[in-house]
């Protein structure tokens, strides 16, 4: 009941935020020089003015801005995200086309980074706790190195090394085109394609999680109840597992929520390098083509996802720490 209320209240807020985001972006994009008609003329390599005017009229860009905004918002209310000027397809279907790929990569990178990061962090902090500090230093040094490496650079190197030199993994795309795989074969094929993008996308956050988990674990290890547990005669392994980990997880979960949000917008860099058909690239191209409705649609969808993830994070935090429920 209480949970339901919280969810309802948060949803209400969320809707205002999303609508706000759409309006702000709508106005923001219009500040950019150029419009879809001029870009299309540019791409065609030729044009005449009446043609451009005609396109503008066709897209409704000759109406006053507030009228356009009104039309757009009214459309959204009916779940109509409009039409892509460039591709002449409903925006929603374009986005839905790309969404599965984004969700897949996002999910894999998320799980990979979270699992690997938390494991490394726990490993490092327990090494530290057990006074094997050099292991801690080595793990954390590695994490820091990964953290500091530009992501796209890593990705390019990974392609050259793993797919060109060693020929272990496919370099790009989501599946082998035309191979006609079905069922388990196809799953395996997609999985192979996922490896490099997942790792190069997940590495950065893995490092972040590792560091955060470690710091948080060490914080918790310094707390009084750990001393209580020691006073009971609990062995170190159990202390870490039963007492420290759960208490240390809260900041990690919070950050994970933020990461999910960041991933929701697709990963432009990774998608670019690996030719991954995700939503980030769609956004990037829409931006360059001034495909307003498509761009706004992407933002609408991603910000909705971000808001949803925030809500989810909240709920997970509540599950982990019942105190939050009591406090709010």
């Amino acid at each position: 009941m209480k949970l339901l209320y919280i969810v309802a209240a948060r949803l209400g807020k969320a809707v205002t935020v999303v609508v706000g985001v759409v309006i702000i972006n709508f106005l923001l994009i219009r500040l950019a020089p150029g419009d879809p008609a001029s870009v299309m003329a540019g791409d065609a390599g030729a044009s005449d003015t009446t043609y451009v005017e005609q396109l503008r009229h066709q897209f409704g860009l000759d109406k006053p801005l507030y009228v356009q905004l009104g039309i757009y918002l009214k459309g959204i209310a009916h779940l109509d995200l409009g039409y892509s000027y460039q591709q002449r397809v409903p925006v929603l279907s374009l986005i839905l086309d790309r969404l599965p790929a984004t969700l897949l990569l996002m999910g894999c990178a998320f799980v990979f980074s979270l699992a690997a990061g938390v494991l490394l962090g726990v490993f490092a902090s327990s090494s530290h706790y057990a006074r094997r500090k050099w292991i801690d230093s080595a793990v954390m040094g590695g994490a820091l190195l990964i953290y500091a490496t530009p992501q796209f650079w890593l990705a390019l190197l990974a392609i050259i090394f793993f797919s060109l030199q060693l020929d272990w993994l496919p370099a790009f795309g989501m599946e082998t085109v035309g191979a006609g795989y079905v069922g388990i074969q196809r799953v395996g094929d997609v999985a192979l394609h996922l490896v490099l993008p997942t790792i190069s996308l997940g590495c950065f956050f893995m490092a972040v999680y590792a560091r955060l988990t470690r710091a948080s674990m060490l914080d918790v290890l310094g707390m009084d109840f750990v001393r209580t547990a020691r006073a009971k005669g609990t062995p170190p392994g159990q202390i870490i597992r039963r007492h420290v980990l759960r208490n240390a997880l809260l900041p990690v979960v919070t950050l994970a929520g933020i990461q999910l949000g960041q991933l929701a917008g697709g990963a432009v860099l990774t998608e670019t390098v690996f030719g991954w058909p995700g939503i980030g690239r769609l956004m990037f191209d829409a931006l360059f083509h001034r495909d307003y409705q498509l761009l706004l649609g992407v933002f609408l969808v991603t910000s909705t996802m971000v808001v949803a993830f925030n809500l989810l994070t909240d709920l997970v935090c509540r599950l982990i720490d019942p105190r939050i429920q009591a406090r709010s």
Binding site: N25, G266, F288, F299
Partner: protein, 279 residues
């Protein structure tokens, strides 16, 4: 202060980071002494590999520009972009967070909703849109990085303020009749400085990475030689002239690493929690 320095430098990583960072800053400051010509100047044969021509130890790029000069001048730009954008983000974040956390109530509600607007769109996407809209230039890049990175600062400062305003010294300041603006700036803010400094140091590192990502995607300032720009430009030459991207990659890595280490050192030195445990 001396205690602090000792604690800070006792941290080996922090000492190394400071050392590297100082080097980087010196290089930035004396760029024009190290290389008297513009990094854009075509000074030699194109594509000289590194370590083959003593005049150009880092090699040259496809136009015959000295990579060493690019690195040195790029230090300046990358650092400048990072520092200025972080400063801006911190300024906006601190103001928003301070007002929000101190006053609470509807002011807080309003400001936090505003903050959420900026947090709801993934950072890099937002930065891309902003830079594209305001046309790529050093100003729009700095602005965009600042715009996407202030919300976490605001949240941090807000939560600091929410706890600090309940602290007794703040209440004491109210009781002796100080004005809110004075309380915010002279009583509370100085006490929230250490987490802000730590966050800012990490943001600086992220800003360098963001700038390079923007450059990689073709949205850099074409008038200024930055590391990110060098990598972006070298991307197409990755196979034929790997040194073109390796050098700036290493430079970014080192700088980000150093800043992070310094940030961690600051964190440890400023964080009383750790100090208490006697580490």
């Amino acid at each position: 202060m001396r205690h602090f320095l000792r604690r800070f430098l006792a941290h080996k990583g922090a000492a190394f980071g400071t050392f590297v960072l100082l080097g980087v800053v010196l290089i930035a400051a004396f760029a024009s002494v190290l290389y008297d010509q513009s990094p854009w100047m075509m000074v030699a044969q194109p594509l000289i590999p590194p370590f083959t021509d003593p005049a150009h130890p880092f090699g040259t790029d496809m136009l015959g520009r000295d990579i060493g000069a690019g690195l040195v001048f790029g230090t300046r730009v990358s650092l400048l972009i990072a520092v200025v954008s972080t400063a801006m983000a911190v300024l906006i974040g601190v103001l928003t967070g301070a007002v929000s956390g101190y006053y609470g109530g509807w002011v807080d509600d309003l400001l936090m909703r505003w903050t959420e607007f900026f947090q709801t769109i993934p950072q890099l996407a937002m930065a891309l849109v902003l830079v594209a809209i305001f046309t790529p230039s050093v100003y729009s890049i700095v602005g965009a990085i600042a715009v996407v990175s202030w919300p976490p600062v605001a949240r941090l400062v807000r939560s600091e303020f929410m706890t600090l305003k309940e602290r007794e010294f703040t209440q004491a300041a109210i009781v002796i009749g100080q004005r809110p603006s004075r309380i915010i700036f002279t009583q509370i803010l100085p006490n929230a400085v250490s987490p802000i400094i730590v966050t800012a140091s990490l943001m600086t590192a992220t800003a360098i990475l963001t700038e390079s990502a923007l450059s990689f995607l073709g949205l850099g300032d074409h008038d200024l030689m930055s590391w990110g720009f060098m990598i972006g430009a070298a991307r197409t030459m990755l196979r034929d002239a790997p040194w073109m991207s390796v050098w700036p990659g290493v430079a970014i890595l080192l700088a980000v690493l150093a800043i992070n280490l310094v940030g961690e050192g600051l964190n440890d030195a400023l964080n009383p929690q750790l100090r208490k445990r006697g580490e």
